[in-house]
């Protein structure tokens, strides 16, 4: 009997900064080949969740497994698209340089990227539609273009699991639909994609699974059954304006 471990599994994960808990007792299993949306109010710990899985923040307690193994052993299988604000866009690199960084993991110590890596980088740039900007310095890009470059970098990592932190924030409509198409292609190829998402209205359209987070795990599962008014009420507390949007979002997507 062959049991395949799920792509991402969290057991009792707690993360605290200066004794204040940011994530509390998270037990989560992510199914294979899916698009997973992580939603919750600001400060709910969404970014911390994916950073904790990748070992970027220390776990106060609990453990994380990628396909049954600790993250450190499985790094090559994970791709990362961080928030755009986390990067110094004034840095003297071109678009191509940034995407090439996605190949560094496989190169190992001291080796420089060669022709194979460069052609792979160009392929990824074409996939996201900005191949023409390869020699542009990143400062000169628009928000949507920057996001696409980040995605291309993650694609160059050639991973099985992708973590994306608010990839749709502040991008134009064309870029948004290009990104979601790309994510669906990735899922079609058997990859798992976890996306920290801020826009409740698009959750049902984009994701087959949803994780509702507010310091603790409120609910997780298939969007159809998990993305309910009741769960949203619990996640967002008494924030009425968001609740209205959420209720609307749920109502619009529920078969009457």
């Amino acid at each position: 009997m062959i049991t395949t471990a799920p792509p991402v599994e969290l057991h009792d994960v707690t993360v605290a900064y200066h004794r204040k808990p940011v994530l509390w007792d998270i037990d989560l299993t992510v199914p294979d080949s899916s698009l997973v949306g992580i939603v919750g109010p600001n400060g709910a710990g969404k970014t911390t969740l994916i950073k904790a899985v990748m070992g970027l923040v220390p776990l106060t307690s609990g453990k994380v497994e990628i396909y049954g193994q600790p993250y450190q052993a499985q790094r090559a299988l994970v791709g990362y698209v961080p928030q755009r604000e986390s990067v110094d866009w004034d840095f003297p690199v071109t678009v191509r340089d940034v995407v090439l960084m996605g190949t560094y993991g496989r190169l190992g110590w001291f080796r420089r990227p060669g022709r194979a890596e460069t052609s792979r980088a160009m392929q990824c740039l074409e996939q996201v539609g900005v191949a023409g900007l390869a020699d542009r310095q990143i400062r000169q890009l628009s928000g949507g273009q920057q996001q696409r470059v980040f995605l291309a970098r993650a694609l160059a990592q050639d991973a099985q699991i992708y973590f994306m932190d608010e990839p749709f924030a502040g991008v134009d409509a064309a870029t948004e639909s290009a990104i979601i198409k790309l994510l669906q292609t990735l899922r079609g190829r058997g990859k798992t994609v976890l996306v920290v998402h801020h826009d409740l209205q698009t959750v049902s359209d984009y994701f087959d699974h949803v994780v509702l987070l507010n310091l603790r795990l409120v609910a997780s599962g298939p969007t159809a059954t998990t993305f309910t008014t009741e769960n949203l009420h619990t996640t967002y507390g008494g924030r009425l304006t968001i609740l209205d949007k959420a209720a609307e979002a749920v109502r619009l997507n529920r078969p009457s």
Partner: protein, 432 residues
């Protein structure tokens, strides 16, 4: 090495130092740790003094270790203060830097009063004394240079990803803490090795200025690194040459750098570097201040000129009889310009023979009508395109009159022209 004269030795030494300091400085500046270099230099002073007091000699190895140790303690204190107290990092650096430096000055005056104090030579560490460079100093500098260059070559991509996106680097599995430590250790070693030549007070300048200058000339890391090293080297050559009287415009015929009346090398190197920085800041194409002002002014001028032509066309278009007589008040009205500006542009159009003076105002000539039509046509096509394109992800860096065909393609342009024609707003332009 014994065949080299003193001047040559000093020149080689300072140039090596300048190149290496420039290169590691490039990473320090990009990693926003440039002030740590300043702190390392200033904190070294008490370390040097204490090492002297403990070991009693001017053995450079021992002094070096003392300086390094003090620097490490300083960095530890800064990290402690920034992480465990409410002190901000730049305040912490300032506090540690000045405290250590003050302590060092006090130690210096104590040493001066000791019986062997006069011969300590520690005073020279304040501003450096490149002239007293010995063979072994040159060897140490060469060794450090080889080491640093080797390190930067080996770890180029690692440092690059560390500086640009440390989170991504860590997620990929790079040991970012260790890489940071290696980078800072390299900075510390270069700083301390440079102290005899340039001194405690100004060493930071040698680290920061070349990198900052290089930033005006390139937007790519590789060229920036090499340029930074080159600028550091050139500043050192020039500074040493001036100080040793080889560019002796201040009249000294004695070219020996150990001559007491010569100007100090360290500060001169820094001044040469600053001069290069200032020139770059003003004159660098694209990023220099003067160039940007010039290009903005040119852009504004060209925009106004096109606006003038469009106004002439529109006033003519909407008039009863064509070609219309355009009056000064109507131009002022249309564009919202001052009278002086309107007059100026009308005169300019006259000079270019695009309008001619008639009773009551000016009138478009045949050439003028054609040019005005072309400019207006391009403007309206762009306007229409931008209005209807909600999904534009095109990079429109040059919305030139002539480039619309090129940028949008003939099909798009044909469609826009058709729409403008239907609106009755397509200027008739003879095909060129």
């Amino acid at each position: 090495m014994s065949g080299l004269g003193v001047t040559e030795k000093v020149m080689i030494g300072t140039t090596l130092l300048g190149c290496v300091a420039g290169m590691i400085g490039c990473f320090a500046v990009l990693r926003r740790r440039a002030l740590v270099g300043d702190m390392l230099a200033h904190a070294a002073l008490p370390g040097l003094c204490l090492a002297f007091l403990i070991t009693g000699g001017r053995n450079f190895a021992e002094l070096f270790l003392g300086a390094l140790a003090a620097g490490v303690v300083g960095v530890a204190l800064v990290t402690f203060a920034a992480r465990w107290t409410r002190t901000k990092e730049d305040a912490a650096i300032g506090i540690v830097l000045s405290t250590f430096f003050g302590f060092g000055i006090v130690l210096l005056s104590i040493i001066r009063r000791l019986p062997m104090g006069n011969k300590s030579g520690l005073d020279t560490f304040l501003f450096g004394q490149a002239a007293s460079m010995r063979n072994q100093d040159l060897l140490v500098l060469s060794g450090v240079a080889v080491l640093v260059l080797g390190l930067l070559t080996l770890l180029y991509k690692e440092f690059k990803i560390l500086c640009f996106d440390p989170d991504f680097a860590a997620a990929q599995g790079w040991p970012t803490v260790w890489l940071d430590l290696v980078m800072m250790a390299t900075l510390a070693v270069v700083t301390v090795v440079g102290l005899p030549a340039v001194g405690v007070v100004l060493m930071a300048a040698l680290i920061i200025i070349p990198a900052a200058t290089a930033g005006f000339w390139t937007s790519r890391l590789g060229p920036m690194l090499l340029l930074s090293g080159a600028i550091g080297g050139v500043a050192s050559v020039l500074g040493t040459a001036v100080s040793s009287g080889q560019l002796g415009w201040y009249g000294s015929t004695d070219v020996s750098p150990v001559h007491a009346s010569n100007l100090p090398t360290g500060p001169l190197i820094v001044l040469c570097g600053s001069a290069m920085f200032t020139i770059s800041m003003l004159l660098a194409p694209d990023r220099g201040v003067l160039m940007r002002m010039l290009s903005t002014a040119l852009m504004r001028r060209s925009a106004r000129w096109e606006a003038m032509l469009r106004t002439l066309y529109e006033l003519d278009e909407s008039a009863q009889t064509r070609p219309a007589v355009v009056t000064l008040p109507s131009v002022i009205n249309e564009r919202g310009w001052s009278e002086r500006m309107a007059r100026r542009w009308i005169r300019y159009a006259e000079r270019r023979q695009l309008v001619e003076r008639v009773p009551g105002g000016v009138r478009l000539t045949a050439a003028g009508a054609m040019e005005a039509a072309q400019v207006t046509r391009a403007h309206r096509l762009w306007e229409l395109y931008l209005l209807e394109g909600a999904n534009i992800d095109l990079d429109l860096t040059e919305r030139d009159t002539n480039s619309i065909q090129h940028l949008l393609g003939p099909d798009v342009v044909a469609r826009l022209e058709k729409e403008l024609r239907e609106q009755g707003r397509l200027p008739a332009v003879r095909a060129v």
